[in-house]
Structure formats: structure tokens, C-alpha cells
């Protein structure tokens, strides 16, 4: 069983604020799910290579060239930001 501190640590890594009650609930839920997926320990994986992608595709590359989009598209993208100044996206002080 995960401890409440562990759950709060995971939440912090995942950038999620949890109330103590939420942390308690997730403590139970996550532990149950981890117990369930723990059955993979029984699988014999000797010699098995990991699959990250089900269809064999080689690296897909293209020329590093500009593909300009119109000003309308740019405006729409910038306008989606919650806080802006002109064409800039505004962020809280970092340092």
C-alpha cells in the first residue's frame, strides 16, 4: 500500500494539487490498481524485446524548412493563452 506521503509526492511530480481527503482516496485506488498490474511479475519475459510502437516505422524525417502559416492561425493560437500582452504569452515570474 502506498503511503499518503508517497501519493502527495507523486501528485507533486505530476503537478496536481490534492486535498488531504483526495490523497486518501487515491492512496486506496492507486494501491489497488498497482496490485492488479503486479500480476505481470508472473509473466515469463525471457528474451522478449520491449514494444514501444506496434507498427514498424523507421524514423520519419523531413527537411528543416519553414512552413509558414497565415497570420490568422497565429492569432488564434496566441489568443488561446489565458494571459497575454500583445503577441506575447504572459507567465508568472520564474526566478
Amino acid at each position: 500500500m502506498l503511503s499518503e506521503q508517497e501519493v502527495q509526492h507523486i501528485a507533486q511530480l505530476a503537478r496536481l494539487r490534492l486535498t488531504p481527503q483526495e490523497a486518501k482516496k487515491y492512496q486506496k485506488d492507486l494501491s489497488l490498481i498497482l496490485d492488479y498490474v503486479g500480476q505481470l511479475k508472473k509473466a515469463d519475459i525471457t528474451g522478449a524485446a520491449p514494444t514501444s510502437h506496434s507498427v514498424a516505422v523507421e524514423n520519419v524525417i523531413r527537411e528543416d524548412e519553414l512552413r509558414p502559416e497565415g497570420p490568422e492561425r497565429i492569432k488564434k493560437l496566441v489568443e488561446a493563452a489565458p494571459q497575454r500582452e500583445g503577441d506575447y504569452i504572459k507567465v508568472k515570474t520564474i526566478l
Binding site: V7, I10, A11, Q12, L13, A14, R15, L16, R17, L18, Y26, D29, L30, L32, I33, L34, Y36, V37, G38, Q39, L40, K41, A43, I45, A48, A49, P50, T51, S52, H53, S54, V55, V57, V60, R62, R73, K76, L77, A80, A81, P82, Q83, I89, K90, V91, K92, T93, I94
Partner: protein, 486 residues
């Protein structure tokens, strides 16, 4: 003409013969949605202006004659995790409640190019994470066959909209069964294409090694029409491939298969998919469908997919891991719900992240983000993620071996018919188990179609038809033949 008869193919016929105009058709469907969808809640947004302007264009093209685009004037619906330019796209989440799509998804562009009339955006479990559409931040969709039951999920809005005759066809997305399971619960046809067959550009990402977009429709023919339009390589999705270029891998049907789709097929029935816990009525209907398929001349054979028991566990490591990475983009800075705008002065940048995400994401989404974060964290990566990737290989190899002997595999789509609202909400694992027959297909990247094969009481039951990579044509051929005699 009755709404229920309006398949894509039939509506096209009616439009070309001028039995009705595209504008009339669009208005009829929009009225029907407005008056009847209150009881099902299959749509989150209707796009009346867009629909009517597309319908007018379609009418002009039909009046002019010549080559009429394949979906000219055909009313369709789009799952609300697929972008339609300038239309709100919520992914069923509070964090995107006011998000306006800045561009069209590639599948949306392709539908528009073929003249489709987009009526609206359909409900889904938040970020497509769920099996009942009860996890939508905006409320659950109800099953048109029984409004006390779920439509399945996560494409429950699309499945319900097709079943309730609110559109001729719809798009959904499928990461672990999210097209096929709701198709089964709502008595519609649903296809999850081969991984890579359809571009995901403009699909709000959930688990990128598993996600695919596909059609939900009233008939196999309609599903094929939509699939043929949306498939193909797209330079904006590097995982997409051109089906023709992969002839070696694919099993294009031979001439004899096309003329007699079921006759020369070898079909595998995996014993691991007929287990204790499956609803006896579901098992009976699926076995009857298998017998009918035998009557078409297909050769049946019992097969084994020995690692099936591990599929759900593998999925609940790989999917949340990818989810935790994909959903890191919702930071309260670039778009979506943000506490940065609020007056809480004490907030620093970290608080903006923690609170925007903590408040914006629902319970299940946070659960999966945390699971994935844990599985990928230092000290656990090998025990969970790497091990799951290796067992994924074993599951894929089970299918590879089976497809050396057989052309198609038949299974139930879901272990039960539609279940009552609320029944599986308390225990996440119980909900996860409702995808037990569909998940293996995503892990292996295979195409699979669910089609209705009967009802238990009022509730439809689906048969799942699994094919080799890029063998959608074989699946469609067989499914059409079976559809005729069911």
C-alpha cells in the same frame, strides 16, 4: 423517408436523386437533435451555422452536377476530442471548457473536402478516459436503447448519436476499445483502424502508441465509406502510413475473397475470450453469429492467444504512462483553464501549475496521470513500464502466430451488454474490466470492427472481428456478408 433508414449510402442516393436537399436534411437533423437529445445528451455542442453553410455548398455542387464529392450533404457528428476549426473542443474536460480549436484535424479537413455536413461535437469521457461516458465533466450520455444504461465509452456520444438517428455517421477515437465497446452497447458498427492507418493530427492525444480515429456508422458499408475517406499518410502525423505502400505487410483480399468474401476465409476463435464472467446471453449471440459465418463457408478453428490474461495489466501501465506525458501540456499557460487570471496574489508559477491542473482535471484523469507518473518514476521504470512493454511484445506475438494460420479472429466485443448508469463508478478496476476484450487489439496495433449481431432483451450485442495489420478490406468484406444474414 424515416430517419433510421438514412444511412450514408441512402442519404447520398436521396440527395443525388433530389428527393431532398442537403439544407432540408441538415435542418431536419438539427431540429431532431434540439428536440430529442435532452434525454440522451449525446452532443456537447451543435454547430448549426457551420452545418447550414456546408449544406448550402453541397446543394450548389449537386445542382451543378459532375463529380459530386462522396459525402456532399451528408450529416455527420464528430467526437469532441477531434478539432473542428473555430468550434469549441472540450475533450469532455473542464480544463478545455472554453477552448476554441485553432485549426482542423486532418480527418475533419478530409470530411469537409468531401462535402460532409458537421452537425456538432459529441460527448465523451474526459480526455477519452472511461468506458461509459459517465466521466464527462459535463454529464453522462444515456443509451438510446435504455436511458437508465450507459452508451459505453469513451465515444459514447458518437455511438448514441448514430443509434438515436441524430446523424448518418460519426467519428470516434479508440485507445483501448473506445469505438468498439460503445458501438456494441448502442447497436452500431464501429471500426478501430490499424495503428497508423488514419492521421491523428488534431486529435487531442491520450496515449499515443494506442490512439486511432475511426468511424461509427449504421452499416458496414457506411463505416467503409468513412474509413476510405479518412485513411492515408499525413505529413502532420509521422506515425501515419499509406496503406498501399505496405502491401508486404498487409493482406489485400484476393480476387476470390472479393467475390465471395467469407468463402475462403479461415477464422480463429480464441478460447481465452470465452471465459467465466462473460454474460451467457452475449456468449450465446456471439456463438450463433459464428455458426452463421460458418454457413457462409468460412472455416472455423479454435486458437489460443495465451498472453490475453495480461493485456489489461499491460494496458494500465502503458496507457497511463503515455497519458502522464501527453497531458503535461495542460499547464495553465498556453491554453485552457488557468488560475493565473484569478486574483489570488500569492500565486507563483508552481501554484499556477498545481492549481490549474488540480482544479481543471477530473478524478479519473488525475488518477491516470498519477499512475503513469509513478510507473515512470526513478526506481519503478523497469519493474512497471519496461516489463509492460516486454509483455506487450508477447501479446503482439500471440496475434502474429495466430494470423499465420487464420485470416480473421472473432470474439465478443464486450463481456456484457450496456450496464446501468452508476454501476461501475465506485471501483475503477471494475470499470476497467469492461474493456477486457478490446484492449489486446490496441496493444498489437491491429484493425478491429464491432458489428451488432442481436439483442438480449432491448440491449444490442456486438461481435468483434479482428484482422491482420492493414487488412481492413478483409474485415469489411466478411462483415458485409455476415450483416446480410444476421
Amino acid at each position: 423517408m424515416e430517419f433510421k433508414d438514412l444511412t450514408v449510402a441512402r442519404a447520398r442516393q436521396g440527395l443525388l436523386k433530389k428527393e431532398f436537399s442537403a439544407l432540408e436534411l441538415a435542418n431536419k437533423f438539427l431540429d431532431k437533435i434540439e428536440t430529442e437529445d435532452e434525454q440522451f445528451f449525446s452532443f456537447l455542442t451543435t454547430t448549426k451555422d457551420l452545418a447550414l453553410s456546408q449544406a448550402k455548398l453541397a446543394d450548389e455542387k449537386i445542382a451543378k452536377g459532375g463529380d459530386i464529392p462522396l459525402l456532399a450533404g451528408i450529416p455527420v457528428a464528430v467526437k469532441d476530442n477531434i478539432l473542428v476549426e473555430s468550434v469549441r473542443c472540450t475533450a469532455g474536460s473542464k480544463i478545455l471548457e472554453d477552448y476554441i480549436a485553432p485549426y482542423d484535424a486532418t480527418v475533419t479537413r478530409k470530411l469537409k473536402e468531401q462535402g460532409a455536413v458537421i452537425l456538432g461535437k459529441t460527448n465523451l469521457d474526459e480526455f477519452a478516459m472511461g468506458s461509459s461516458t459517465e466521466r464527462s465533466a459535463f454529464g453522462p450520455t444515456k443509451n438510446p436503447y435504455d436511458t437508465k444504461r450507459v452508451p459505453g465509452g469513451s465515444s459514447g456520444g458518437s455511438a448514441a448519436a448514430v443509434a438515436a438517428d441524430f446523424c448518418c455517421a460519426a467519428l470516434g477515437s479508440d485507445t483501448g476499445g473506445s469505438i468498439r465497446q460503445p458501438a456494441s452497447f448502442c447497436g452500431t458498427v464501429g471500426l478501430k483502424p490499424t495503428y497508423g492507418a488514419v492521421s491523428r493530427y488534431g486529435l487531442i492525444a491520450m496515449a499515443s502508441s494506442l490512439d486511432q480515429i475511426g468511424p461509427l456508422a449504421k452499416t458496414v458499408e457506411d463505416a467503409r465509406i468513412i474509413f476510405d475517406i479518412i485513411k492515408g499518410r499525413d505529413e502532420k502525423d509521422a506515425t501515419s502510413v499509406e496503406i498501399r505502400a505496405l502491401n508486404k505487410l498487409s493482406a489485400r483480399p484476393s480476387a476470390s475473397e472479393v467475390s465471395a468474401p467469407a468463402q475462403n476465409l479461415k477464422i480463429g476463435i480464441p478460447k481465452e475470450y470465452f471465459i467465466k464472467g462473460i454474460d451467457p446471453e452475449v456468449e450465446k449471440l456471439v456463438k450463433e453469429a459464428i455458426r452463421k459465418a460458418e454457413g457462409l463457408g468460412a472455416a472455423m478453428e479454435e486458437i489460443s492467444l495465451p498472453h490475453t490474461q495480461y493485456a489489461l495489466a499491460v494496458y494500465y501501465i502503458i496507457m497511463p504512462s503515455e497519458v502522464s506525458a501527453n497531458l503535461a501540456r495542460y499547464d495553465g499557460i498556453k491554453y485552457g483553464y488557468s488560475v493565473a487570471k484569478s486574483v489570488r496574489k500569492e500565486q507563483n508559477l508552481l501554484d499556477v501549475y498545481l492549481n490549474s491542473r488540480g482544479e481543471g482535471f477530473g478524478e479519473e484523469v488525475r488518477r491516470r496521470i498519477m499512475l503513469g507518473t509513478y510507473a515512470l518514476s526513478t526506481g519503478y521504470y523497469e519493474a512497471y513500464y519496461l516489463r509492460a512493454q516486454k509483455v506487450r511484445t508477447l501479446i503482439k506475438e500471440d496475434f502474429d502466430r495466430a494470423f499465420k494460420k487464420v485470416d480473421l479472429i472473432l470474439t465478443p466485443t464486450a463481456p456484457t451488454p450496456a450496464f446501468p448508469l452508476g454501476e461501475k463508478m465506485a471501483d475503477p478496476l471494475v470499470m476497467y474490466l469492461s474493456d477486457i476484450f478490446t484492449i489486446g487489439v490496441n496493444l498489437a496495433g491491429l484493425p478491429a470492427l464491432s458489428m451488432p449481431v442481436g439483442k438480449t432483451g432491448r440491449l444490442p450485442v456486438g461481435l468483434q472481428i479482428i484482422g491482420r495489420p492493414f487488412a481492413e478490406e478483409t474485415i469489411f468484406g466478411f462483415a458485409s456478408a455476415l450483416e446480410e444474414i444476421i
